[in-house]
Symmetry: C2
């Protein structure tokens, strides 16, 4: 068995851990555009370190040579003697201590060490002259000619599917959502206006479409934008050819879902397309708008990713950029609950991947984040908002007087996360456990209303107002016993008198909670109606929000903007998670799927062929009437059917007869 640290055949660009994600994430949060204006995110934004050194010592059996490539200014120190970057350098046998200094005034300081023995694989420490940690790297950057300051997107030329002359102009329908640059070939025109639309309605609205570029001639650089339709007013079809060059980072889509339910199959595929588009380097909320990295959206995207691409890199980059540099200046995206979802998201990432190396890098940042929470808790352990903190939870009406129930539910799960992750790393966890227990007790003592049989928003206001949110979190995080769960189901989730969840963001949590309580039939109906409804309206990706009562132009309005709605929004892909987690019933029972269950509940499907990813492998399940066959590519799985549990052996198909 080869030693991972020293024998890894791959060389990669190295940086101070987190810096690549923080630097790229900063640029992502500056990438929003609206009607000719750049719209930087409205919060404090970190950048990478400017000045970094990389150190490693080698005990050499023989002399060797190497070359250091860098982006930035600096030098290579070998045993106290300075050498130039980019030159072939020599080390004699014996102990050699190598330190590479690199400063980059504008971009990411990073180095690539190219040699037979001395090379940038594992084992290098990076320091910003304050802290020293294992150097960061990314599988996207593994050759010396690359520059980690430039993302190398794959490009795919896409021709319009349909071209129509309309409104004294030409409408191009690409038949799919494109995130890229337009190429124009002007035949009879000097310059034209380009109107973009995720919908036809938007593209044709020359006045109000979200993206528009005017006076575009052959030379005009055209910026990367997301669209399905292009409208060129005041032109004929013969005047102009357009090609869209879609830009993307290829991902390995490891999931398949093919059943006799054609609508569900299409929902699965469009969900996959939606998440795929919203996740190149990071999980962003939407490709047209905001293009920002929101912790709440990313938290949900992580769950969906687990059942589709199982792309750990996007997860890690997103977690690192959201948290930023060590010093905490404000809550993530300014939102207290998003900071807490970030911590909880690390737990989900760990359970999905079992990645202890990542946990080691991120744990100090979790700890300082939780310290930050603890500084805003009161004597009962309840977290409260300070001036400039946004206690968001959701857009719903909620009684936010004093401390708020949903925030406490999240904080309980935060402490649980610290206990779990801290234990893995053998860190002290007693304080977190104590705070967890105290907060859980007080949460129930103060926020549970026996008369309502539910959690109330606020105990300080005296209004005893019930919303769904804290109750949903209580289910998801197992904060209450089965009796209270059933009370919540009856008094809240299935109680139409309690204001409905109106945002797809919280709808995700609600569907998750309903499935957890066994109400898959209800959820299945929602999938067909809500997601099926969007397909009926011609959706090629799933939307930020769908209201079946709206039609025509009204469908696209949001936040007071006629085209404010994003028609390709990451959380729109949630059916993948709901189907994978609760219908196919696949989930890890030990981190990184060292052990996992397949617990299918597939009565809605007569036939199904599905492949779902697990860490380091995949699970294939086929249903054909009463016959169920399951194959896992690695050991550790159990098939659970009714009260029976069957162990799965790597690569061996297990077939059972079902009810």
């Amino acid at each position: 068995m080869k030693g991972r640290k020293y024998m890894d055949p791959t060389k990669y660009w190295m940086w101070y851990p987190g810096d690549f994600s923080i630097h790229q994430g900063m640029q992502q949060n500056f990438a929003r555009e609206e009607r000719g204006m750049g719209w930087p995110a409205y919060w404090y934004i970190d950048d990478c370190n400017r000045n970094v050194k990389f150190t490693r010592s080698y005990q050499l059996d023989q002399p060797t040579e190497f070359t250091v490539y860098a982006h930035g200014v600096g030098y290579v120190d070998i045993n106290g003697v300075k050498h130039q970057l980019g030159k072939t350098l020599h080390c004699d046998s014996g102990e050699n201590v190598i330190t590479i200094f690199v400063g980059n005034p504008q971009g990411l300081p990073c180095v690539f060490v190219d040699g037979e023995i001395i090379k940038s694989d594992g084992g290098w420490e990076a320091s910003n002259f304050v802290s020293s940690l294992p150097a960061g790297h990314d599988p996207l950057f593994t050759t010396k000619t690359q520059n980690p300051n430039m993302i190398e997107f794959q490009k795919k030329a896409i021709k319009p599917k349909k071209i129509t002359e309309v409104q004294a102009g030409v409408l191009f329908d690409f038949g799919r959502a494109v995130n890229g640059r337009l190429k124009l070939n002007l035949h009879h025109k000097k310059a034209v206006t380009i109107c973009y639309g995720e919908s036809k309605t938007e593209a044709l609205d020359v006045q109000m479409c979200y993206y528009k570029q005017e006076a575009v001639d052959k030379e005009t650089p055209i910026r990367k934008r997301a669209f399905r339709y292009i409208f060129i007013p005041d032109a004929k079809q013969r005047d102009v050819d357009v090609t869209a060059v879609h830009e993307y980072i290829p991902k390995n889509n490891r999931s398949v879902f093919r059943s006799d339910q054609q609508l569900i199959n299409r929902i699965w595929d469009v969900s996959t397309e939606t998440l795929n588009l919203c996740s190149d380097i990071f999980f962003i909320d939407g490709i047209k708008r905001d293009r920002w990295i929101w912790a709440g959206d990313a938290y949900q995207a992580n769950f969906i990713n687990q059942y589709s691409f199982f792309n750990e890199d996007i997860d890690k980059r997103t977690l690192l950029t959201l948290r930023g540099q060590d010093d905490i200046k404000q809550h993530i995206n300014t939102i207290v609950d998003y900071s807490m979802l970030w911590v909880i998201g690390v737990l989900n990432h760990y359970e999905m991947t079992g990645d202890i190396d990542f946990l080691k890098i991120v744990y100090p940042k979790m700890k300082s984040m939780v310290d930050y929470f603890m500084r805003q808790t009161n004597d009962k352990g309840f977290i409260y908002g300070r001036p400039n903190d946004w206690i968001f939870v959701d857009w719903s009406e909620m009684d936010k007087q004093g401390t708020v129930a949903a925030e406490q539910a999240l904080l309980i799960q935060v402490y649980k996360t610290m206990v779990t992750c801290g234990s893995v790393l053998k860190q002290p966890i007693n304080d977190y456990q104590k705070r967890h227990d105290q907060l859980l007790d007080n949460f129930i003592a103060y926020f549970w209303s026996d008369s309502k049989g539910a959690f109330i928003d606020s105990y300080e206001s005296g209004k005893n107002h019930v919303t769904r949110h804290a109750n949903i979190f209580a289910i998801l995080f197992d904060l209450v016993d089965d009796d209270k769960k059933q009370l919540i189901l009856k008094n809240v989730l299935l109680n139409d008198k309690v204001t409905q969840i109106t945002t797809p963001y919280f709808k995700f949590f609600e569907q998750d909670a309903l499935c957890k309580l066994g109400l898959r039939d209800n959820v299945y109906k929602v999938i067909l109606d809500y997601w099926g409804g969007m397909l009926d309206k011609g959706a090629v990706t799933f939307w930020e929000e769908y209201d079946p009562t709206k039609s025509g132009k009204d469908m696209y309005e949001m936040y007071g903007d006629p085209y404010g709605k994003s028609l390709c929004h990451a959380w729109g892909a949630s059916p993948i998670y709901l189907l994978g987690r609760y219908f196919v019933g696949l989930y890890p029972t030990r981190p990184g799927y060292r052990e996992f269950n397949v617990e299918p509940k597939l009565k809605q499907f007569r036939t199904l062929h599905t492949v779902l990813p697990i860490k380091g492998g995949e699970v294939t399940l086929d249903k054909d009437g009463d016959r169920l066959s399951v194959t896992a590519s690695k050991d550790g799985g159990s098939l659970i059917v009714g009260s029976n549990e069957y162990p799965l052996v790597a690569g061996r198909e297990l077939s059972v007869q079902i009810g």
Copy 2:
């Protein structure tokens, strides 16, 4: 009288306060070069904020228009409606709230507001989404076509004074120190090697000269470097013409010193040239090496600047960049005493300028810096070094066991600074006063040795070792009564058994202390010998260090490098301060020279004509034998001659007969 905030005719580029200096200072600290290698400073380096917003509200009597120029992406919000940058925007009369958002992923986010009424003068607040402060600006950037990311140096072409064919090559002597780029005109050569030298010896040392550029042809970009000599090996004079393009930021040199002592006059002029070269945007240590911004060097440069250029902007920029962003990650330049000199330096800047606006911006950063010190004090109030803290003081041998005397002396002065500056801003100062008093008591109780009649380095070691450093600080900061001062003078400063100060850095403090104790004659001799000695060696600027016992190639060696010594080093200019402060005897007695004394001690000069700057004016002094004439351009001055004190009236010459 016009209201300063609203009527200032100047418009300027604005940024988050401190950001311009922090961003440029970062680049300055990356500007070092040695033998083809970039050498970034070896400490944590901050950069500017990436995402900033600027806000101001106007109550308009009439409609008005304005345009916002920015470096970065963003938009202008007028009363909640977004508008594009770079377009003419309209405001109706009445209340108008304007917020400009700008993010810059690589450089300094900054804006210029161009309008009749709505414009970037005073009154704008800048926020990094965490803190909000009056926007920063700089007199260098006042027109909309500028970019504060680019320093616009003035350029001056300089032809070689002397060209010699030597060592089978051509030597060009420019007769002065140049900091700029070389222009080559190659006649008979395809490509040449350029060897640079501050000295002829260095330029001719093709192997070891500090800067060298090889294979330079007509197209090769030549980097900005500091030099007096250029040697082109393997060439004849007819092969190549060279011109040096010196780059500089013009400063107003308000000082003159013309006496019957020609050597002193030359020392004054060469000092002025030296400081001038070492201070474009910031006070750097030297123009060849390090080109970094060191707090100790800058502290001294500030004192010299006060008597020459009186350039407040360089002072402010240097103080802001040294301190960096709010969060403190380590001591300035990693040195504990340099962090303390930074705080004390703000006091000197305030006493020199009386600039309360600057004090308001910098005081929160002084406070957090002092909090940082207090976290590393023990129960006696003594500051100690932690791992990775550098307790420098000076390069001399010193007993650094436990807490060190010189550091305590600085901390006492730090507390005094906080009391003074805090009082000006009406901030609470009791805690600083209490700590000051306790520390001063303990400093004397523990570090004063009655048997030595001096401060010892360390009381913990039991060695009772005396060095000059703490004793010098005790004089400079008035930490002891006159009896102890005289003991220090006798037992330390004039005691050859106490190890001599060997660095010019601490020599500055020593000469200052000697002058303070009235030993001007000794100091005058030092000026003639030490600085005069350098002139004898052909110096055109003053050196980092001068040892009269060395000659030839040895003169240029330092830090183990044959050309490691900087021959144009800011602290080399200290005669300006010593002559201005103690011989001409000019000093403020109230901040910003609202009151000031001229207390001449000029027995070494039979005739003298000198002009020295004060805040908002200047003082002219003429001595001709027994006749002394003094004119101050503003009120508040007193001429002190012997026991007589004469008030100075603005613009009116006062003549007195002297002994």
